[in-house]
Symmetry: C2
């Protein structure tokens, strides 16, 4: 059932993007570990097997802690994904675009993040 | 913005219920720890402050590992919330009903869980 899978995906992306956009501007080490663990556990427990495998592979390639996630050579940006709200949100936007590409969906302009996600709180 | 908060809530409940309904029938200890950690981190990172506080309070009262979560006296059911798909899904349904009650929403009949949540995978 592709509709149910798509609805689950939309719900999940909504939660994840809103979460990174409410993540602290200057998180503590403990908050950084919490976000990284949350993403790893999400990828493990995600209730669509094919998607979970893809999610885990992406986290391996672009880990939530430290890693190069965006590169036009030169320069190469080495980013610490959970080091701030901006980094976390930008990293997740990039990750979602990787999934979009694989599913032949248009790339999302990460400059529009703030305008798209409002948690109402 | 109450609409955005409600939309975020609906998206989150959808993910969480679908997750417990795809959780293993007979999980390993490692899988049980993963689910318990996932819920604790979700409650901590949930991007609506008031809801996150409520979520954390509920997890304290009805922890994901072991605890009494449903009681008509007698009998009192002592359940190990992450010990099986059925326990995990039933526990989360109960938790959601606690939130429903506080928000003056109707109680959901947990017998309808399987019919309501389909991840399409
Ligand atoms: C971790 C994960 C892995 C997945 N893997 C698969 C898979 O392997 N196979 C499969 O069929 N489906 C997969 N899905 C589901 C898939 O990504 C979509 O959610 C689903 O196909 C519905 O797509 P959609 O076009 O409605 O938009 P979605 O991709 O769900 O996006 C929802 C909305 O978010 C916004 N958006 C789009 N791109 C971005 C971005 N980069 N950053 C921020 N916001 C953005 C847009 O407004 C869009 O309408 C996965 C979902 C998740 C969460
Ligand atoms: C952890 C958490 C805490 C929240 N705390 C608050 C808060 O403090 N204040 C606030 O205003 N909002 C809070 N929310 C949002 C709130 O719970 C609702 O999501 C929101 O008000 C939208 O409600 P709804 O009527 O569309 O249905 P929702 O409660 O979002 O439920 C969505 C659908 O799930 C099904 N459902 C209902 N009950 C159950 C159940 N027990 N088990 C399984 N399925 C069920 C129904 O089909 C329902 O339509 C919280 C959300 C979460 C995830």
């Amino acid at each position: 059932n592709a509709t149910a899978k798509a609805e689950l995906g939309r719900a999940t992306w909504k939660l994840l993007h809103t979460m990174t956009l409410r993540y602290p501007e200057t998180p503590t080490q403990d908050e950084r570990n919490a976000l990284a663990s949350y993403f790893r556990l999400s990828a493990r427990l995600y209730p669509c097997g094919e998607c979970a495998a893809e999610f885990q592979m992406l986290l391996k390639k672009f880990p939530p802690q430290v890693g190069i996630y965006f590169s036009t050579a030169p320069p190469i940006f080495t980013c610490t994904q959970t080091s701030s709200r901006k980094s976390a949100a930008g990293w997740l936007c990039f990750l979602h675009n990787q999934v979009n590409e694989r599913l032949h969906k248009p790339e999302f302009d990460c400059a529009n993040l703030d305008a798209t996600y409002d948690c109402g709180c």
